[in-house]
């Protein structure tokens, strides 16, 4: 089992595509996306609005080596600054197969 970094990101659903492009550019090998996640943060409640994706979050996990995680963090920071959201990094073991 290989030690890796798990990066978790919450972002407005309308900006999901932009986030995924950013991740790809930073060199991640894969990601997992949970759409239609609700939440609350600095910018108020995101409780869904049933008509558009305006008040909806997406949650993305990407697992990568330390250096890539560093790059991801850097390239995501301006995005989060402008658009809000959250990014977490933690340690995991990746089961090789």
């Amino acid at each position: 089992m290989k030690p890796m970094k798990k990066v978790e990101i919450v972002i407005d659903s309308v900006h999901l595509n932009r986030l995924l492009e950013t991740l790809e550019k930073a060199g991640v090998s894969g990601y997992t996306v949970f759409r239609d996640v609700l939440g609350k943060g600095e910018r108020g409640i995101m409780a869904g609005d049933e008509l558009t994706d305006v008040f909806k979050n997406s949650y993305v996990i990407t697992v990568c080596p330390e250096d890539v995680a560093q790059k991801v963090a850097e390239s995501i920071r301006p995005l989060l600054k402008k658009l809000g959201g959250m990014c977490l990094i933690s340690d995991v073991l990746w089961l090789e197969h």
Binding site: H15, G44, D49, E50, L51, T52, V54, F55, K82
Partner: protein
Amino acid sequence: MSLELLLQNILNPPVLLFLLGILAVLLRTELEVPQPLPKLFSLYLLIAIGLHGGYELSKSGITSDVVKVLLLAMFMAVAVPIYAFFILRLKLDVYNAVAIAATYGSISAVTFITAGSFLNTLGGKYGGYMVAAMTLMESPAIIIGLILLSLFARRNENSSIEWKEVLREAFLNPSVYILMGTLVIGFITGEKGWKAMEPLFGNLFRGMLAFFLLDMGLVAGRRLGEIKRVGLFLVAFGVLLPIFNASAGIFLAKTFGLAKGDAFMFSVLCASASYIAVPAAMRLSVPEANPSLYVTMSLAITFPFNIAIGIPLYYSIINMLWG
């Protein structure tokens, strides 16, 4: 506006179901129309109105009257967001002014549909090309809004507008696309096509509208709590601008000699504000603006106002002028 007309509008299952939806939120029931059912209803209504409009257009043909209406529609779609922007700038920063102006420059298909249903119950009619006019009026406000933004906002590089994206978002957003597409399909397939589609997209129309308005009531009701945060200026704006826009529409309609039913539908288009296409576009291109403002104003103020009061009000004005 006579009280009778007001009641005639309100005491209809669709409008009453809308009010039932609002009340459900006020009473804190847990009633909901879960996703993606609202999308089923809105898709249905768009397809139905597109196919029917195209069919009507295939009967009437594309006359000079049609061209006149489309030009008027285009004119209002460009003018409204511009003057709305300058009014809003009296109190708001550029970002929010742009987003709200674009919201009011565009239209609400469900308001249009509800007005059409109201007109029908009074025995009135409108031309199929009004659907084309509506389609035309959805997008320009987004473009105008972003032009205003690039003229008046100082944004750093990072925030430069991606025009290609914006144009796609404006002209190929789902509702514009589906309306345009089904309008063409209805036009091409004519009588025969419509006869095959009528049982679903014609006969059930009013029932589906009523069903959807129940959900719109829930959505609007959930936003009502935000009204106090919107502030008095914007609340007044959300009621007065639609009245003003409708009046401007009526004035143009009279000047250019539109038929009564068309004039009514045109005034409703001018008065209505977008809560689907434009908010989605603004969220993407103007993230600095606060969606709680423009979504709340459109959904919780202007939409209910138009549905309950605006529609009979504009109709009674037109009734006076057209006789």
